[in-house]
């Protein structure tokens, strides 16, 4: 296997005169994985798009095996052996695995599609990557995790020599992540691909890469072999400030701790059952953050949605502040002080065309009227106060869709706070936000619980987040939860994973 090298030298890329990339050097060598980290907006994705031909650089050049190249289009990059897998899934769900594999380069025999050859070839590809999928089935039939693996497999099938991966593990968890990391590692070692791997999760990044590159404001801040890079140093560089590193063993990283006073149970759930739930028992206490861990499909999201009346329970008892609680819907739940933050920001979170202010006050506009008419001044003041408190960055008078993901998440958090919750249900509160915003949100949650006495239930798939933010942790397994909270300080990532997988 001859060694091949794709080099980016002094790449500059301007948007509206503002440099997104400012003289970036990056070298991809066959058989090596480069881990690329940085803040949202640091230029990671822009760099990837320059390498993949989606963007033309404004300065610098690309060298393939020492010869100058320029990719005028993504197709040109693919022809040169550079394949890209973006964050969003790009396979067409209504087509089969085979059809997706050969999209745009269908095999023909005698003018007709050679379905048999394509099918066999696609199945071989899938098998080679040890993906449990049938080439004849539609991609949409498979769970997200499998689709993500299929994306990568199909990307490499186009004679790829270099592979660019933009946060491929965002929607995966636990063993799925491991399977993907193994796959990527294998592609480098066995197949000799040169790989760029963008990821926010440093654990994964350090586990897989040979070299780590940290981008800050469009420039390379840290670059070197993985074994010689210090994680804390990377976090400091990309967050632009000291962010508490995940605690090593049971030492709380947060600034506040739940007071160890007597616990007041606010919400108590006993034997809750529904189509997706198989008996959930748990208690949420005033002033404490209850972390809810579990695998995807273990019923955590369904549990939270049942608590605000979005899904009907079939059996069980819910008690809220000592009273029976059976919400008819989110509005009813809100009246009782229970507010839910969705996991799917784009699906049932933001209203994209409305501005941040309207998005924040949407659930409570009725409370700000005078003689039936809206009190715009008061609404704007309330929303602006909340957004300022959350440190929003961006134009809050512009449609919320123009804000970055992290700021959209802050808008949604502000919306939950505008509803003056006493019980806060959070579903993956930091999904898809960068490290800096994540730390801010964690701090906010601690303040809300420990200083303002809210009962917080937080679902998260990130073990580090569960351990860092929660006071107590429960685990969902196959739609049920035994309700025995374990103090987060007694847990480790390994113990958490074990608790979720032992019974699964």
């Amino acid at each position: 296997m001859t060694e091949q090298v794709l080099q980016a030298v002094g790449i500059r890329k301007l948007f509206a005169g503002v440099p997104a990339l400012d003289g970036v050097d990056l070298t991809l060598t066959s058989g090596k994985v480069v881990g690329l980290v940085g803040h949202n907006g640091a230029g990671k994705s822009t760099l990837l798009k320059v390498l993949s031909g989606a963007y033309q650089p404004d300065g610098g050049q690309l060298l393939l095996d020492g010869a100058k190249v320029s990719f005028h289009s993504p197709a040109a990059a693919i022809d040169a052996g550079v394949s890209t897998v973006y964050q969003e899934l790009s396979l067409l769900p209504n087509l089969t695995v085979t059809e997706n594999t050969f999209l745009g380069r269908e095999l023909r025999s005698g003018g007709r599609l050679d379905k048999k050859a394509m099918r066999e070839s696609a199945q071989q590809l899938v098998d080679r990557f040890r993906i449990e999928a049938d080439a004849d089935r539609r991609v949409g039939d498979y769970p997200v995790a499998t689709r993500q693996l299929l994306e990568i497999a199909i990307a490499t099938s186009r004679n790829a020599r270099f592979l660019l991966l933009d946060e491929p593990t965002t929607s995966l968890e636990g063993d799925q992540v491991e399977q993907l990391l193994k796959l990527v590692r294998g592609l480098a070692v066995d197949e000799g691909l040169g790989i760029v791997f963008i990821n926010h999760k440093l654990d994964e990044l350090f586990a897989i890469s040979d070299e780590v590159v940290a981008l800050v404001n469009g420039q390379v801040r840290i670059q070197g072999p993985t074994d010689r890079i210090n994680r804390a140093e990377v976090i400091t560089a990309i967050a632009g400030a000291e962010i508490p590193e995940k605690r090593v063993a049971g030492v709380p990283a947060g600034s506040t701790v739940a007071p160890d006073a007597e616990r007041t149970v606010v919400l108590s759930v006993a034997g809750l059952r529904s189509a997706e739930l198989n008996g959930v028992d748990l208690e949420a206490c005033e002033g404490r953050i209850l972390g809810v861990y579990g695998l995807v499909g273990s019923g955590r999201t369904e549990f939270l949605r049942t608590l605000v009346g979005l899904l009907p329970p079939s059996d069980g008892q819910i008690t809220l502040f000592g009273d029976d609680y059976r919400p008819s819907g989110p509005a009813d739940a809100q009246n009782r002080g229970v507010v839910y933050l969705t996991e799917e920001r784009k699906i049932d979170g933001i209203v994209p065309g409305l501005n941040s202010i309207t998005n924040v006050v949407l659930p409570v506009v009725r409370q700000y009227t005078r003689g039936g008419l809206l009190d715009h001044r008061e609404l704007t003041r309330v929303a602006t106060d909340l957004l300022t408190r959350l440190g929003i960055r961006g134009d809050i008078h512009a449609p919320v869709v123009t804000l970055s993901g992290g700021n959209q998440q802050k808008v949604l958090l502000a919306r939950t706070l505008a509803q003056k919750p006493r019980v806060l249900l959070l579903d993956e509160p930091t999904k898809g936000v960068d490290i800096g915003v994540k730390a801010e949100i964690h701090q906010l949650l601690r303040t809300l619980a420990h200083e303002q006495g809210l009962a917080v239930i937080m679902v998260s798939s990130e073990e580090e987040e569960i351990l860092e933010v929660s006071d107590d942790v429960v685990t969902f397994v196959l739609g049920s939860c035994d309700g025995n909270p374990v103090p987060a300080s007694d847990l480790t990532v390994q113990a958490l994973r074990q608790s979720a997988w032992e019974a699964a």
Binding site: T358, T380, H397, T402
Partner: protein, 369 residues
């Protein structure tokens, strides 16, 4: 709004309207006469009423195809009511209530049976077109009570009563959309129904409300139509009214996908279409040219709208005065309402342009106007 404030939604359509009016008055000296303007407005009011109702429906992401035949249904029932001795005001009330009920029926089926608005209102279109013909044996019913003519033929200080009713309705609708919680909820439901549901918005109530408003508008359209002719025609409203009402709203910047648009825009759209058909009559163009010309105008209007949505005021000013280097000067003049002191004013303009179809609607928005 910060300095990224977009051009007012209705600027493009207003420009086209002025242009068309100018061309028409150059082509015929009869166009810009008081008498003709009265006729123009009078002829445009029914479509304008339908367009206002249609706007509510479109804002939620729906469509109401039943308004055209709803005119026949409500207008006929008003005439029949008077035949049975009902006074003129009661007949008017009958038309409005029937329109409301048709709207509620549409909304209820759409929301509770979860059917696409297109299918439901298309079915209602057929039903409400057939009922008046069945009831009367497809014969027209003349109105004897001269008081009923007030709705369609009366005028106040030279302004036709239908135009006055339209103006009142427009003001009420603007207040509903911009100044009430229901208005915010209607935009939200059209922008993202799932998110609205999660935020506690009662979506069913909003769906019923918008189709009810559309039905009421059709009922008023029925009153005006019957009153102008003093005859209830079972086939009234089966012409271009339906098509033009949707066209007016869309040309006026109301998105077919929901969440975007204003009453003022829809009104301007209706006036534009009325101006074009009237203008062509005045300059003596054969009537079969009208749909062609209006079709072209819709295409132009929507295309202009799509382009306009990509351009911020700052860019617009820069383009207009491209020789001036100091192009970051704040926008001035009618295009730039008072700018609130948002904390975001120092944000760089590096945010990605929103996809077309995003709305600039904000509660603070209207208070700035």
């Amino acid at each position: 709004m910060g300095k990224r404030r977009r051009l007012p939604e209705e600027m493009g359509i207003f420009g086209v309207l002025v242009l068309v009016a100018l061309v028409m008055s150059l082509l015929s000296s009869d166009f810009m006469t008081l008498g003709n303007i009265q006729i123009l407005m009078l002829n445009g009011t029914v479509v304008a009423f339908l367009a206002l109702g249609q706007t509510f429906v479109l804002l939620t992401g729906g469509i109401d195809l039943s308004v055209g035949s709803n005119i026949a249904l409500t207008g006929m029932l008003a005439a029949i009511a008077m035949q049975f001795g009902a006074p003129w005001w009661l007949a008017g009330l009958v038309a409005v209530v029937v329109g409301l009920l048709v709207g509620l029926f549409n909304g209820a089926i759409i929301h509770f049976v979860k059917l696409p608005p297109f299918i439901v209102t298309f079915s209602t279109y057929g039903i409400s077109a057939a009922i008046p013909q069945i009831v009367t044996g497809a014969k027209s019913v003349s109105v004897a009570d001269p008081m009923f003519a007030f709705f369609g033929r009366g005028s106040l200080y030279g302004v036709p009563i239908p135009v006055i009713m339209l103006a009142i309705a427009a003001v009420i609708f603007i207040v509903i959309l911009k100044q009430t919680p229901s208005g915010v909820h209607i935009y939200a439901v059209g922008g993202n129904a799932d998110a609205s549901r999660l935020a506690g918005v009662n979506i069913g109530r909003k769906i019923l409300m918008v189709y009810a408003i559309s039905g009421i508008c059709a009922g008023i359209g029925g009153i005006i139509t019957t009153s102008r002719l003093m005859v209830g025609y079972p086939t009234a409203g089966s012409g271009n009214e339906q098509f033009y009402s949707i066209a007016s709203a869309v040309v006026g910047g109301v998105s077919l996908f929901g969440g975007v648009g204003t009453i003022v825009g829809a009104l301007l759209g209706a006036i534009l279409i009325a101006t074009v058909s009237n203008g062509m009559n005045v300059i003596g163009v054969d009537s079969f040219w009208q749909p062609l010309v209006i079709g072209v105008i819709i295409l132009l209007g929507v295309s202009l709208d799509a382009v306009r949505r990509q351009i911020t005021i700052g860019e617009g000013v820069r383009r207009l005065f491209s020789t001036s280097a100091a192009s970051l000067a704040p926008p001035v003049g009618a295009d730039a309402p008072p700018v609130s002191d948002a904390p975001s004013r120092s944000e760089p303009d590096a945010l990605p342009a929103p996809p077309s179809g995003t709305s600039g609607f904000t509660p603070s928005d209207s208070s700035n106007r």
